[in-house]
């Protein structure tokens, strides 16, 4: 097994394990509380409105919006880390069919690995500070790396291997 395949397969396995551990931690310690808070806030907003308590109703609606902002990103991070890890493992299995030399293969493998780590990391950092420019920039940079790596990989699979 050459170096680029090792990067993709072992990097993918490590990322999948990390994504699953994050998911396990999230499911056990965070998710139920978050869902309760989200459903409870929305129901409370309606109940307070029925009681004609506008201020409480607005405050409950804001709490719902804020909790949902975090929930969407937390779940996305879990699924994207594992999804990207699976993609790395599958591409790792097929990488010897890529019509590029070892150096370009290595560059693609490392780019995909870096992007797969950085992109969800940027997303989860958005929950620490809503609307953080640094977190958004990190997510954009990470997704850019994944896009570049995938575009070059698609070209490499399409190309006749004798052309390298």
């Amino acid at each position: 097994m050459n170096r680029p395949r090792q990067v993709l397969i072992f990097g993918g396995l490590a990322l999948a394990a990390f994504g699953m551990l994050f998911g396990l931690y999230y499911a056990v310690f965070v998710e139920h509380q978050t869902l309760d808070q989200m459903g409870g806030s929305l129901a409370a907003a309606f109940v307070h409105a029925a009681e004609r308590n506008t201020a409480e109703s607005r405050s409950a609606l804001d709490a719902y919006a804020s909790t949902k902002y975090d929930y969407v990103r937390q779940v996305d991070v879990h699924s994207h880390w594992i999804g990207l890890a699976m993609l790395m493992i599958v591409l790792g299995a097929a990488f010897d069919r890529l019509a590029f030399g070892q150096r370009i293969q290595s560059a693609i493998a490392w780019t995909l690995f870096a992007g797969s780590v950085i992109f969800p990391l940027g997303v989860i950092l958005q929950t620490a500070s809503h609307g953080s420019a640094f977190a958004s920039a990190l997510a954009i940079a990470g997704s850019g790396l994944v896009i570049i790596a995938l575009a070059v990989t698609a070209f490499g699979f399409l190309r006749d291997k004798t052309a390298q």
Partner: protein
């Protein structure tokens, strides 16, 4: 015929009822089953469930207008039940197809799992059993609830789903143990490695699959940059308007609840398009590895590849168009899903024919 040559060359790669063969059969069958379930869900449950949820939200808003907090709570309990119904069905679809992907992935790594053939077969059976029982358990959660359960919190169906998940984890740990042995023993393959050919079918599936993943990723980036924040802001605004309208007029409440339903549909189709195109891309890449084991003429192998890739692009595009051109787009999207299922079944038949011919050869019948 090229297939005959390939078959003779690959006869050592797929021994009779080996773990690899079980995982390939089981994986393709689980993916086809999961997709069929998804198609049935999309046609018979999804829209009806959305309509009922909208009606329950409308009832909650009317209860706000009537200053009746008890009725508000009842309406939200109904919304909770409807969301559970929808959520468990989506999860059944996702878990069945994902178990199939994992089975195909495990089939790929079998040559590097340094365990005896019988242990590998036991692990494969364990994984497939978990892969079948897990979605069944998830599907039953909404219907069984807490009936006959020894616990006051977790129902029997959840226990079944969790136990099936545990079986899959045990199987995966066993496979990881075998892989570790392989790497510690100096990378000596215990079986023949997968064929390394670069046929048209394999190249098309590999490049087409990667392109699909890339398209899905580009769409996801666009969605996150342009639509995600806008939709979050719109949701809060619509809910706020619903609460305001509840004290004023019935028609205004109906309007805002309809707007909320449209927003929910918009989010659902955009996320579905993103996730389906990426999953189909992964499926195409995984199926490229199975191509040497498909005992069909080259013409039919290419036909199934094209049908699969066309279905993979038709489904997400027409799911997205559902909001613009309505149910016709939904119908075309379902046809796209059916094309993927038909291609999968076609390939599965090819694998069955391949393994059947190997078995016949082994018994000296041919």
């Amino acid at each position: 015929m090229a297939t005959t040559v390939t078959q003779a060359r690959d006869s050592a790669h797929l021994p009779a009822m080996s773990a690899q063969r079980l995982l390939i059969f089981g994986g393709i069958a689980l993916i086809a089953g999961g997709m069929l379930f998804g198609d049935i869900f999309a046609v018979f449950v999804l829209h009806q469930n959305g309509g009922e949820t909208g009606a329950a939200l409308l009832a909650a808003s009317h209860a706000v207008a009537a200053q009746n907090p008890t009725a508000v709570k009842e309406a939200f309990a109904r919304i909770g039940g409807l969301l559970e119904d929808r959520g468990t069905k989506v999860d059944t679809h996702v878990h069945m197809t994902d178990a199939g992907y994992l089975a195909l992935l495990l089939a790929l790594v079998q040559p590097y799992v340094a365990l005896s053939a019988s242990r590998k077969k036991t692990l494969a059976r364990l994984f497939l059993l978990g892969g079948v029982l897990l979605p069944i358990g998830i599907f039953l959660i909404h219907y069984v609830g807490l009936a006959y359960s020894p616990s006051s919190v977790i129902g029997l169906a959840s226990i079944l789903a969790d136990s099936a998940g545990a079986l899959m984890i045990i199987a995966l740990l066993g496979e990881a143990w075998g892989l570790l042995h392989y790497f510690r023993s100096g990378n000596v393959s215990v079986e023949d490695e997968l064929p390394q050919d670069r046929t048209w079918e394999r190249r098309t599936l590999l490049s087409g699959g990667t392109m699909l993943v890339l398209l899905g990723f580009l769409y996801g980036v666009w969605y996150a940059g342009v639509n995600l924040y806008d939709q979050e802001a719109r949701e809060t605004k619509i809910l706020s308007a619903t609460l305001d309208a509840a004290g004023a007029s019935t028609s205004a409440v109906t309007q805002t609840v309809n707007a909320y339903g449209m927003l929910a549909a918009e989010k659902a189709v955009e996320i579905a398009a993103h996730s389906h195109i990426i999953e189909f891309g992964l499926l195409a890449i995984l199926l490229s590895f199975v191509q040497p084991y498909i005992f069909l003429s080259d013409l039919w192998k290419r036909r199934w590849v094209m049908v699969l890739l066309m279905g993979s692009i038709i489904l997400p595009i027409f799911v997205l168009l559902e909001l613009k051109i309505g149910l016709i787009a939904g119908g075309i999207a379902d046809v796209g899903g059916l094309m993927v299922i038909v291609a999968l079944v076609g390939m599965l038949v090819g694998v069955l024919r391949f393994s059947g011919s190997l078995d016949a050869q082994a018994r000296g019948l041919s």
